[in-house]
């Protein structure tokens, strides 16, 4: 096998190269030639092609994502911002938290178990590469129609894969989402979020500084699996008959990752590391070029030193391999031995593959021959940037005009119909209990889980002495985003913000995973631009910076894109987790109070979707000032311990919130529909900025004062009762009553019946 060396490239300028097969456009290929003043070697071509793929370079999204930086609120809590492996925020007492969400959508359709498993593995390595100990994971998921025959395969594989990897790593799963919609049939979304904690002094960055320092590759051996996997997969649309080519998928080894976590934290805490980087998409190409360009700008790599699982791999393949569970560290020469000792202790293989130098170039040798000689920035940062055309899709007007008004979609109008609707909605796959999913995840490991599913946010104790902790929620109603992507993204943010505040934590920072169709479709690009702008505007207004995130394009089959799905994760801090607000009421006689105002807002609602398969109209209006005021009441009420329980109102409206609280409490409530209001609208509208809170009689006057001071409308709608029954009175002059055991039976049986 002959090696395409730099000198050979110089003397053979006309050699034809398969740039198109590697996903490069002719002008991109030309650009590489301009940068190098010659044709690239095959190894260089491999590096540029993976690094300039949509997945790695963000070439279509970059121009819009800049808004997150431009509009970032001045926030002293931000220690590391966008651009690093993950953002880092200060949570007080010398503690810092890093969190990020990432997608693994395409691989999870092709091989659901391994696709989802390696998705968890990838995001966890992002967190450890910041110097943090991972402490929790979450998994926002979207699947196709629950009754479609293929959905079962995907659901079972994805859930088992997330559990299989996360459980084996010893990370509690503290929340996520499970949403079904036909728009995800051939494009399930598997987003994975990881939270890590560290002391300020442990923050590490991905840069190769210090001339003469060693570059160490450690972890799993490099194999031929997943070559071009993520980058090719994530940049191609499946055609209508399913995956056109079935590219190789990586298999995860969570045990190796667990060793990698312990080993990495030990070398970091021992002060043995100058810079560190995980290997994700684009493998060694990415790690070396990013480390080099973030440091002094020069690095040399002896590629033949890389430990291989398969000795027949070519240098191009080694550069592109996306084998999992690998990391790269920059270590001063005097500490290399100590570094290797820690690796030996954890049974982790490691080898020095390179050296930092002052050349300003990234050079790679293969058995003494130079196969790469490039400016590292040109690979890692100076990829192409596209100003893709975008335009409001023509179909949107008709869809927005198609409002779910009472004359167009039949609404329940009697107590009997309300009861029937209540049970049907409780059994809607999107609203039914997710226990079948979440019981496959360990939520107890590490012993610091204060809240987990089905609570409004997951909450983790960070400091065992002081009780300082963090809460995280992820949300997105993609139907809202389909009706209005700007508002949809803001509503996703608002829901997530509210979920964090509901548990008593103060929202601090935002991460996001923007799942969209093809950026080459101007309509999709418009949705993307609107969603990013909406989210950036809301984050600025609410003083919660975006600290990082991920973009997943090409989630579409043929011409049909998924609903735009900007999943938003909000992280909050709580001084003492003992003060958290749970979702379940406990004490008969406590008042049940509705916060916020309910309008006739059913466009994009779960009711319209489940009962009428309808999607049209305009999403609920959002007033961020009101959202901030509501959060203030929820947070201060928790700190002063005057809120006994609280639950946010979102999908399925007030009715669903009451059902969920009853199911969690196992004792019931008596609710009266406020006089003069339409019971159906009160129960199933999805107006934003609302929550149900539970207040003991002794705290009522304090709570009323708190609401008045913050201008938050409150309505006492009922009280907790000892009997296990949820009773709604004044429903079209009659009473509706359902036993909690019936609700439980209905809610719990849905997912097992579909997928068990």
């Amino acid at each position: 096998m002959s090696i395409d060396t730099v000198s050979h490239a110089e003397t053979s300028p006309t050699t034809e190269q398969p740039f198109a097969a590697l996903g490069l456009k002719p002008d991109e290929y030309q650009r590489i030639k301009d940068i190098l003043n010659r044709r690239p070697t095959s190894s260089e071509l491999a590096m540029y092609s993976v690094m300039w793929s949509e997945h790695c370079s963000y070439k279509s999204s970059k121009v819009h994502l800049r808004q997150f930086g431009v509009k970032a609120p001045k926030n002293d809590a931000m220690l590391v911002g966008i651009g690093e492996n993950a953002g880092v925020v200060d949570i007080g007492d010398g503690w810092a938290v890093t969190f990020k969400v990432e997608s693994h959508n395409h691989p999870s359709y092709v091989e659901p178990y391994q696709g989802a498993a390696t998705g968890v593995g990838g995001i966890v390595r992002d967190i450890i590469s910041m110097g943090a100990r991972p402490v929790a994971v979450m998994d926002p998921l979207r699947f196709g129609d629950p009754s479609h025959p293929d959905t079962r395969r995907v659901v079972n594989g994805v859930v088992a894969g997330i559990g299989g990897y996360g459980n084996c790593l010893g990370l509690p799963n503290i929340g996520g989402e499970v949403v079904f919609d036909p728009s995800y049939q051939g494009n399930p979304l598997v987003n994975a979020l990881c939270v890590g904690t560290m002391k300020h002094e442990d923050i590490h960055l991905a840069k190769a500084t210090g001339i003469g320092n060693a570059v160490i590759l450690y972890g799993a051996r490099t194999g031929g699996d997943g070559i071009g996997g993520v980058s090719v997969l994530a940049s191609e649309t499946f055609d209508a008959d399913g995956p056109a080519k079935r590219p190789s998928v990586q298999v995860g080894d969570p045990f190796m990752e667990k060793l990698l976590i312990e080993c990495t934290l030990e070398v970091l805490h021992a002060g043995l590391v100058e810079g560190i980087q995980d290997l994700g998409g684009a493998g060694i190409s990415c790690a070396t070029s990013e480390l080099a360009s973030n440091g002094e700008g020069g690095m040399h790599v002896w590629l033949d030193r890389v430990l291989l699982r398969d000795s027949s791999l070519s240098p191009e393949e080694i550069l592109m391999s996306e084998s999992q569970e690998r990391m790269c560290a920059v270590v001063t020469p005097d500490k290399v031995d100590a570094f290797m000792d820690v690796c030996t202790k954890w049974d982790v293989e490691a080898v020095v593959i390179g050296e930092v130098n002052a050349s300003g170039r990234l050079t790679v040798d293969w058995h003494g021959e130079r196969i790469v000689d490039v400016p590292p920035r040109s690979v890692a940062h100076d990829g192409p940037v596209y100003e893709r055309p975008f335009a409001r899709p023509a179909w949107l007007d008709a869809r927005q005009a198609d409002a779910p008004t009472a004359d167009r979609l039949a609404r329940p109008g009697s107590a009997d119909e309300v009861r029937t609707t209540l049970l049907r909605m409780t059994a809607a796959p999107n609203l039914a209990s997710k226990t079948w999913v979440t019981s496959q995840y360990d939520r107890y490991v590490m012993g610091n889980t204060v809240l987990a599913q089905p609570e409004d946010s997951g909450m983790i104790r960070v400091d065992e002495k002081t009780g300082r902790g963090v809460a995280v929620s992820t949300d997105c109603n993609a139907r809202f985003a389909a009706l209005d992507p700007y508002l949809g993204a803001q509503l996703a943010f608002a829901e997530s913000y509210r979920n964090v505040a509901t548990t008593g934590a103060t929202p601090l920072a935002v991460t996001n995973c923007l799942n969209f169709g093809s950026p080459e479709d101007p309509g999709v690009m418009w949705q993307f631009e609107r969603a990013v702008t909406g989210l950036a505007d809301a984050c600025l207004d609410m003083n919660t910076p975006v600290t990082g995130g991920n973009v997943s394009f090409y989630n579409q089959t043929g011409d049909i894109a998924i609903h735009p799905t900007p999943v938003v994760g909000v992280l909050g801090v709580i001084d003492n987790v003992a003060h958290r607000t749970p979702m379940a009421w406990t004490t008969p006689g406590d008042a049940i109070v509705l916060l916020g105002v309910t309008h006739d807002e059913l466009a994009g609602s779960e009711w319209a979707h489940e009962i009428h398969s309808h999607l049209g109209g305009l999403p609920p209006v959002l007033d961020l000032n009101a959202e901030r005021a509501l959060a203030q009441v929820l947070i201060e009420g928790s700190q002063r311990r005057i809120i006994a329980a609280a639950h946010d109102i979102a999908d399925g409206g007030l009715a669903q919130a009451l059902v969920e609280m009853s199911l969690r409490a196992r004792i019931g409530a008596h609710i009266a529909i406020p006089a003069g209001k339409d019971a159906f609208v009160q129960l199933w509208s999805e107006s934003a900025t609302r929550a149900v809170v539970v207040i003991a009689p002794a705290s009522m006057s304090d709570f009323a004062e708190l609401c008045a001071r913050n201008n938050v409308p409150m309505t006492v709608i009922g009280s907790v009762v000892a009997e296990p029954t949820l009773t709604l009175s004044d429903v079209y002059s009659q009473e509706v009553s359902v036993s909690i055991s019936e609700l439980f039976e209905v809610s719990e049986s849905v997912l097992p019946a579909l997928f068990g």
Binding site: E111, Q114, R246, D253
Partner: protein, 81 residues
């Protein structure tokens, strides 16, 4: 009655963490000189009646879809007694 044996193994280029773990343990137990270990699955099916060409065809297609994922695994089908 016929017995059909379907062996499913990860493709050679795919990482086999279980096989690797076994290989490590073999070394610690003193079995040296083992250059590779792969761990696969074996399905033993007892099928009523004869296995004719149509039935074998059907078993083959099930082996390719249910019992293995061709993206990462290879399989063999074998009719025994």
């Amino acid at each position: 009655m016929a017995r059909v044996i379907v062996n499913v193994a990860l493709k050679p280029e795919i990482l086999d963490p279980e096989g690797r773990a076994v290989q490590g343990a073999l070394g610690r137990l003193g079995l040296t000189g083992v250059s590779d270990v792969r761990q696969g699955k074996q399905f033993v099916l007892d099928v009523d009646g004869e296995i004719d060409a149509a039935k074998l065809e059907q078993i083959n297609s099930i082996a390719a879809s249910l019992l293995s994922n061709p993206v990462i695994e290879d399989f063999t089908v074998q009719v025994a007694q």
